[in-house]
């Protein structure tokens, strides 16, 4: 069933008392309990333009010069007015108010007029009151003290917001306006004095004097005052579009050196962002953090959310995880946080495919794991496009777009048998038997003097090996026969010399069976040229090892486990 809409003229005015002061203290509402005075730094003589109740209680009022104010209240804190901050606050208010009415007018700083015509669910007085309460609650959540007035004209709504309770819905406009004090019409001091002398105290008494008679005695101003007291004239609302800019900032005084105040403020920022994004139906895609340091430098970081989000917790977690691992060179004097918004996405997961339940939590865990073990040690492995053994890199996991795996029979036949990799490889001493000869040669990888060039190794492994270049090599007596598993691969070298004994920290013993070698090389055209020879051997103790010879050095790269 279609909800009934309010078709009669209905307006609301949102008024933020002492807007510059509220804007300055928005993110720290506890400061309202302290004596604080706001001054305008752009003026030649700094005078108080607003003060908290604590400061007023001590005699600090608008117009006092800073020394005078300090003389009246020794504990007074002087805060500069921030026009940028007020602009940012006004943007936040407009964005949140847009969630209550699409027709908004930025009437004055701290004053918004909302056209409620056509909105559903505002026929009854109680419904209007509930709506106004919700709007005030939204402002409270932004950390702003506001008053909401609802009336049949923008003027009546404004008077209700300015001159009544925190939330006031005008039912009888004429009666309401009549009871207001004459000051509600904002007469000039001269006219106010005349009216005072006449004994006119309320708007009702003023209106009772008659428009023509008042115009004769007070001139044009009387007509303007009559217009201000009108309960029927409806002026057009100059509608604005809510800005899609989300920025919050704060200056620390004094500078902060610990994480807690920063996180506290970030939480307030993300709460505000969440509320504004919700009102506009948007989601955050990136967070841009800027920390202003006491040294004059800036620390900037652009944080990408795992998926567009508008929940305050998700935004805050992203910031918290980053800030917990951050060390700045100097104390932080200011923080700016902005976000880039996007339309929120909806998606449907495949029926049988698993997906990450909570992408934000997942990203959070990844960040914590990176902080624990290092960013280069967490991720999904991707094999490099290389024939080199154990060549891989880690990438950020993307399980949702991971390719599916075929479950065809015999798929494993092509895969090598997994072994336990040793990173870094364990240096080994390996004795090699040269085929066709009656001797074997020992090369110790741990001895730097035994490092040989690739050419030397090839010469060493060749049947026509001869000791050359004065390299330290040990010739030992031949051992028992070693069986060789025939090679079928294209890189096999079945006629090569073969290891007969291995000694390393991982495993040692006489080699009874060998498979290999598999010779691989790459990047020979570059400075990073590499060549390796891989043997799989079985020792007389039953251990299966992967022996690799690189640049003449033997290592145990993997063990069967």
């Amino acid at each position: 069933m279609k909800e009934p809409m309010a078709m009669t003229p209905l307006f609301a005015v949102l008024h933020l008392l002492e807007f510059p002061l509220q804007s300055a203290l928005r993110h720290h509402p506890e400061l309202w309990d302290q004596p604080i005075a706001l001054v305008d730094p752009t003026q030649r003589v700094a005078r108080v333009i607003a003060a908290t109740p604590g400061a007023r209680a001590a005699g600090v009022v608008e117009g006092l010069m800073t020394p005078q104010a300090l003389a009246r209240c020794r504990e007074l804190l002087i805060r500069p007015r921030s026009v940028d901050g007020e602009s940012s606050t006004m943007e936040a208010i407009v964005q949140v108010a847009f969630g209550f009415s699409p027709a908004i007018e930025d009437t004055a700083p701290g004053l918004l007029t909302l056209d409620l015509r056509g909105l559903p669910g505002l026929l009854e007085q109680s419904q209007r009151h509930g709506w106004a309460e919700r709007l005030k609650g939204a402002m409270d959540a932004l950390g702003l003290r506001s008053r909401v007035g609802v009336g049949p004209t923008p003027n009546v709504a404004r008077l209700a917001a300015l001159w009544s309770e925190e939330v006031f819905v005008v039912d009888d406009a004429t009666g309401f306006v009549s009871t207001l004090p004459i000051a509600a019409l904002e007469p000039t001091a001269h006219v106010a004095e005349i009216l005072g002398q006449w004994g006119v105290r309320t708007v009702g008494e003023f209106l009772a004097l008659g428009r023509a008679d008042l115009a004769d005695r007070l001139g044009l101003e009387a007509l303007a005052l009559f217009a201000s007291a009108s309960t029927t004239s409806v002026r057009p609302v100059r509608q604005i579009r809510p800005p899609q800019r989300f920025e919050e900032f704060w200056e620390f005084d004094p500078a902060v050196e610990t994480l807690e105040p920063l996180l506290f403020l970030c939480r307030r920022f993300t709460d505000s962002f969440a509320q504004r994004l919700e009102a506009l139906g948007l989601a955050a895609e990136h967070l841009i953090l800027r920390l202003r340091l006491e040294s004059g430098q800036d620390h900037r970081k652009r944080l990408r959310l795992p998926e567009p989000a508008r929940r305050s917790e998700a935004l805050f977690q992203c910031l918290q995880t980053y800030l917990e691992t951050l060390r700045t060179e100097a104390p932080v004097v200011g923080v700016d946080l902005s976000l880039e918004s996007t339309r929120s996405r909806q998606r449907q997961f495949s029926l049988f495919e698993a997906a990450v339940r909570d992408a934000h939590q997942f990203q959070e865990t990844l960040a914590r794991l990176s902080a624990l073990v290092g960013g280069d040690r967490v991720g999904s492995p991707v094999r490099e496009d290389s024939h080199r053994t154990d060549a891989f890199r880690l990438v950020s996991p993307d399980f949702e777009n991971a390719p599916t795996v075929e479950s065809r029979p015999g798929r494993w036949l092509q895969a090598p048998t997994p072994m336990r990799r040793l990173r870094p490889p364990s240096p080994a001493r390996v004795e090699i038997r040269v085929l066709g000869g009656s001797s074997s040669t020992s090369i110790t990888a741990s001895d730097p003097a035994s490092r040989l060039s690739p050419d030397h190794v090839l010469a060493l492994l060749s049947p026509t090996f001869r000791k050359e270049g004065g390299k330290p090599m040990t010739v030992t007596a031949p051992g028992p026969p070693v069986s060789r598993i025939p090679e079928t691969g294209p890189n096999s070298a079945s006629q090569s010399p073969q290891p007969v004994f291995v000694s390393s920290a991982v495993a040692s013993g006489r080699i009874r069976r060998v498979q290999g070698p598999v010779r691989r090389s790459g990047h020979w055209w570059e400075a990073q040229a590499w060549a390796e020879e891989v043997w799989q051997v079985e020792t007389d103790r039953g251990q299966v090892l992967s022996l690799v010879c690189r640049e003449g050095c033997w290592t145990v790269d993997a063990v069967a486990d």
Binding site: S350, F352, A354, V356, R357, D358, Q361, F362, E364, T365, L366, R368, L369, L372, V373, R377, V378, G379, S380, P381, V382, R383, D390, F392, L394, P397, D398, F399, A402, P403, T404, V405, E406, S407, W412, L413, A415, P416, T417, P418, M419, R420, R421, L422, R423, I485, V506, A507, R513, V514, Q515, Q536, E538, G542, Q543, V544, A558, V559, A560, D561
Partner: protein, 224 residues
């Protein structure tokens, strides 16, 4: 025929008259996650117990624990799931897995048992990972001996709470209160290694040392 006054009596009556052919739903073993090795699945009545910490003990080098680890990774990838591998000694053999399988694992390359356990704690608290594998086997015995029993208790509670299947590879029985403990052994003959992973898996021998979940299921059946 005697009458059953309540549901307990009815269960007893059914059990007496029809025996094993009547299996009550609540007396079945908990949901199991296939290991990728038929022999081991058969031993565990379906696979690793879900929502619990299982232990795979492989004593000495060449016990076959790496084969079990890779088989589970392959099976997980085939099922379209993903797996977190906490590698205490950074020893995963990347060359032995296909790119599609690698894309479905989150590999944490820890440097010590302590680091691995802290990483595992983070992963078990994150409800995104249904399967977590913790490979502590290459860690020094001294480091493993320093692991407090309360850690396993905490892991057990986390897996129960989040429905996670966690498997810990150890060189000796270590995990107190494990849902099940399987000992694996093999003869790492070069011929089998050379023949490929299927041949290597065939040579594995499994022994179910402890089965807390199965025992619990048996107890319930007896009580029912």
């Amino acid at each position: 025929m005697p009458e059953a006054s309540n549901i307990v009596d009815l269960r007893k009556l059914l059990a007496e008259r029809f025996g094993a052919s009547v299996r009550l739903r609540n007396a079945t073993t908990p949901e199991a996650i296939p290991t990728g090795i038929p022999a081991l699945d058969s031993l565990l009545e379906g696979g690793w117990p879900k929502s619990g910490v299982s232990e795979l003990v492989g004593q000495g080098i060449g016990s076959g624990s790496v084969q079990v680890l890779h088989a589970w990774i392959r099976k997980t990838a085939q099922e379209g799931q993903f797996l977190a591998v906490v590698d205490a000694a950074d020893s995963l053999d990347v060359d032995a897995l296909e790119p599609q399988e690698l894309a479905r694992i989150l590999w944490v390359r820890a440097r010590s048992a302590d680091e691995a356990l802290r990483a595992a704690d983070l992963l078990l608290r994150d409800r995104n990972f249904p399967r977590v594998l913790i490979d502590l086997k290459p860690c020094p015995t001294k480091a493993l001996g320093r692991i407090s029993g309360s850690i396993w208790h905490r892991f057990r509670r986390l897996t129960e709470h989040h429905g996670t299947t966690a498997v810990v590879l150890t060189p000796f029985p270590l995990v107190s209160g494990a849902a099940c403990r399987v000992q694996v052994s093999a003869d790492p003959v070069l011929d089998r290694i050379h023949s490929g992973p299927e041949s290597a898996l065939e040579s594995l021998r499994f022994e179910l040392v402890r089965s807390g979940i199965l025992q619990a299921g048996l107890d319930r059946r007896m009580a029912g």
